[in-house]
């Protein structure tokens, strides 16, 4: 079938797909294999250009309102951003922690935990900073009809907000999570721009709580089962080491726990996507996400299986699956006068997502990054 999906003219006003995606397996695999070979030959240094080529392909095959997106980032920006972060942030940070550790080892070994906690604290702060900076880089390198997208707001402020909200979530045993998540999403979306137009988001946490509490109760049950199972195992096999049968049951149980944590989360996350999309607006454009928990779970399980079974060689399939998932399920309705959208005057970061690259936080091919 001749796929010219990116050309199809949308019907103004009616509900239509947010993204028409026309990428193909063969083409993306071609790029991926060449990237892989070059990355191996250059001891990994090529990965910055590799990422750029994959992004260019995905963006160029994603159409919005009848026109394809364009990725304007370069490998050079990415590698410079990465090197700057390594030299200015990571090497000084790790050197300081290493010296602190050695000093504590010599003078007060019982406080070595303090050094580790300090490092963990700094990293927990730097992760959201990295996410926000990477999102800004991606959006300012995303262009449509010659007009750039963008993101305002300070990454450090976002990092600080994240840490405070994480603390709130921790102190409430996770119960505050829908609130935290909504605040962070609001921060990101309300700072998202297309040209001189800003996205408006007015979501609140309350509508998410019904679904959240259902998932949460599964977690509580899973958590309560731990002492029961552990106690049972000790009763059946009180001597150490325990018998092989009990050991096998415990391993199965641990796997089950892992699934109980990972799988139900998709039902909550799907509710988030649906609700967040419905509360976002760009001028006259309204968004919607037709995403069910089951669909999201099967997307993630499938992606994980593909990655594991192919030892990472199937990653292009994962990228395509993600794009097609979004294309099939995200929608817009309403109208917007694009002719009046003026080119963005926002300052663009000159260099790429160094921190995110260093932390390898994923989402590298996620255009909107929500």
């Amino acid at each position: 079938m001749e796929s010219e999906t990116t050309q199809r003219e949308p019907v103004a006003g009616a509900r239509r797909a947010l993204i028409a995606f026309g990428g193909r397996e063969g083409e993306l695999f071609g790029i991926f294999i060449v990237n892989l070979i070059l990355a191996i030959l250059t001891l990994g240094i090529y990965r910055f250009w590799a990422k750029t080529r994959v992004r260019s392909y995905l963006w160029a095959h994603a159409g919005f309102e009848g026109d394809r997106l364009e990725y304007t980032g370069t490998g050079k920006e990415l590698i410079l951003g990465f090197l700057i972060i390594v030299i200015v942030v990571l090497v000084p940070l790790f050197t300081a922690v290493a010296i602190l550790r050695l000093a504590l080892q010599a003078s007060a070994p019982e406080f070595i935990l303090v050094a580790d906690l300090t490092q963990a604290g700094i990293l927990i702060f730097l992760l959201p900073v990295a996410v926000y900076r990477a999102r800004r880089y991606r959006l300012t390198r995303t262009q449509w009809r010659g007009v750039r997208a963008g993101q305002t707001g300070s990454a450090l402020a976002y990092g600080l907000k994240s840490v405070l909200l994480y603390l709130l979530a921790a102190f409430t045993f996770g119960l505050a999570w829908p609130y935290c998540s909504t605040r962070l999403t609001a921060h990101k979306l309300n700072n998202t721009w297309l040209g001189d137009r800003r996205v408006a988001f007015d979501g609140r946490a309350r509508p998410l709580y019904r679904r959240f509490l259902a998932v949460y109760s599964v977690y509580v049950l899973a958590f309560l089962s731990i002492p029961v199972v552990a106690g049972g195992a000790l009763q059946v096999s009180p001597d150490q080491p325990m018998s092989d049968e009990v050991g096998a049951v415990l391993v199965l149980y641990a796997l089950l726990l892992l699934l109980l944590i990972r799988i139900p989360w998709n039902w909550y996350r799907a509710a988030e996507y649906r609700y967040f999309a419905s509360r976002a607006q760009l001028e006259g454009l309204r968004f919607d996400a037709d995403i069910s928990g089951g669909a999201l779970a099967s997307l993630h399980v499938g992606n994980t299986l593909i990655t594991i079974v192919t030892f990472g060689l199937g990653l292009p399939l994962v990228y395509l699956r993600n794009m097609r998932f979004g294309a099939a399920r995200l929608g817009i309705s309403g109208e917007m006068d694009f002719a009046s959208v003026v080119q963005s005057a926002q300052a663009r970061p000159r260099m790429g997502e160094g921190l995110a690259e260093a932390f390898d936080i994923g989402g590298a091919y996620d255009i909107l990054g929500i």
Partner: protein
């Protein structure tokens, strides 16, 4: 034939103009005329300045811009339009191949990166010496102690104490020889020498004056002055602060590597890992030559014959096939000629460093009962 059609945005607003495209003036000096629906000329681009930003496989779509107006975009979608446009000016509207200038730039950057990594590799060891001089001896001693303990746990099984031999007479012999050498060394370190019950022919110094001789080395030695020679060599490393420098160098390398390639969310190497690396790590040639020279000097001043290390080295080098583990230790040490020159002053003057009785006790340090029940 239908004129090819496209969509044009000027890069100032997201307005999109449906346009028809015409090439005028022939292929050589040609220009592309971009004409709006109302017949108005929106832009005229000379063909030489046109850049293809991307092209969908199979000529399904083109995205064009122009050097004089890099923000503007001309989208030509669908096979008919792309083929139609290309038919107007054969050879134009193609992606540019890599130009020699671009290739040269890539080569230059690759070379620069390589040079930078090489500079880092060579500069790091030199940076380490002044930093090591700043480390207080008390720290080194505590760190060294922790490393010694860790090595004991890692290599000696659950009971870390099992690794280190506790024969009291042997320990006393070792302590006396160490004391004689320490008396002539100008150093703030307090030396603590242990024998580890391991078959390899090896010995190493840990920061803070700790030295470990492996029992395999004592077994391989035929005369006491050979072991005492190795001991003097390791003590010379300590005096020169080589273990601390080595530790810092390893730490520096791991910090740089972790930053560049690693997962920074995992924590830094633990002392156990550093200890493990200490067993494996090698000093530079210059460090070895320094330790050789100083070791000989210390032996001489202590009145001990100085040919032991040299004899040990040469004899074992002949038998290297039989003792592969020996290579692991000496492969980083200077080749024999170099070493012979460094130890040219080697003399047979002085005693063996240990009395025959002490030598026998040292040889039995790992098999002897722990007479008084303590180390």
């Amino acid at each position: 034939m239908m004129e090819p059609r496209g969509r044009f945005s000027d890069g100032k607003t997201a307005a999109r103009h449906a346009v028809t495209l015409r090439v005028a003036g022939g292929a050589a000096r040609g220009r592309l005329e971009i004409v709006g629906e109302d017949g108005k000329l929106l832009a005229v681009w000379d063909l030489a300045g046109i850049e293809v930003i991307d092209e969908l496989a199979g000529g399904r779509g083109l995205r064009l811009t122009h050097a004089s107006d890099p923000a503007a975009r001309l989208m030509v979608e669908g096979r008919d339009n792309v083929a139609g446009l290309r038919a107007c000016a054969p050879g134009a509207f193609r992606r540019k191949r890599l130009r020699p200038a671009t290739l040269a730039r890539i080569a230059a950057w690759t070379g620069l990166t390589g040079a930078l990594l090489a500079a880092l590799y060579f500069a790091l060891p030199r940076l380490v010496e002044p930093v090591a001089a700043l480390v207080p001896v008390a720290w080194e001693e505590r760190v060294g102690e922790a490393v010694i303990e860790q090595i004991g746990t890692v290599l000696g099984g659950e009971e870390g104490g099992d690794l280190y031999c506790t024969g009291a007479a042997g320990a006393a012999a070792l302590e006396r020889a160490t004391g004689r050498l320490a008396a002539v060394a100008d150093t703030p370190y307090r030396f603590r020498v242990r024998v580890a019950d391991l078959d390899q022919v090896n010995a190493f110094a840990v920061p803070g004056g700790h030295i470990v001789l492996l029992s395999g080395l004592i077994e391989a030695a035929e005369a006491p002055e050979e072991v005492v020679g190795v001991l003097a060599h390791e003590m010379a490393h300590v005096v020169e602060r080589h273990p601390t420098e080595g530790l810092l160098r390893n730490l520096g390398i791991s910090v740089v590597f972790q930053s560049l390639f690693g997962d920074p969310s995992s924590s830094l190497p633990s002392l156990g890992e550093i200890g493990g690396a200490l067993v494996m790590f090698s000093y530079s040639r210059a460090d070895e030559a320094e330790a050789d020279a100083l070791g000989v000097e210390m032996l001489k001043q202590a009145g001990i014959r100085t040919d032991g290390l040299q004899a040990f080295f040469e004899r074992l080098a002949d038998a290297e096939g039989a003792l592969p583990s020996f290579l692991a230790y000496f492969s980083t040490h200077p080749p024999s000629e170099e070493r012979a020159r460094a130890t040219a002053a080697a003399t047979t003057g002085g005693d063996a460093g240990l009395t025959p009785g002490e030598w026998a006790a040292l040889q039995a340090i790992c098999t002897a009962e722990d007479e008084d029940g303590s180390e």
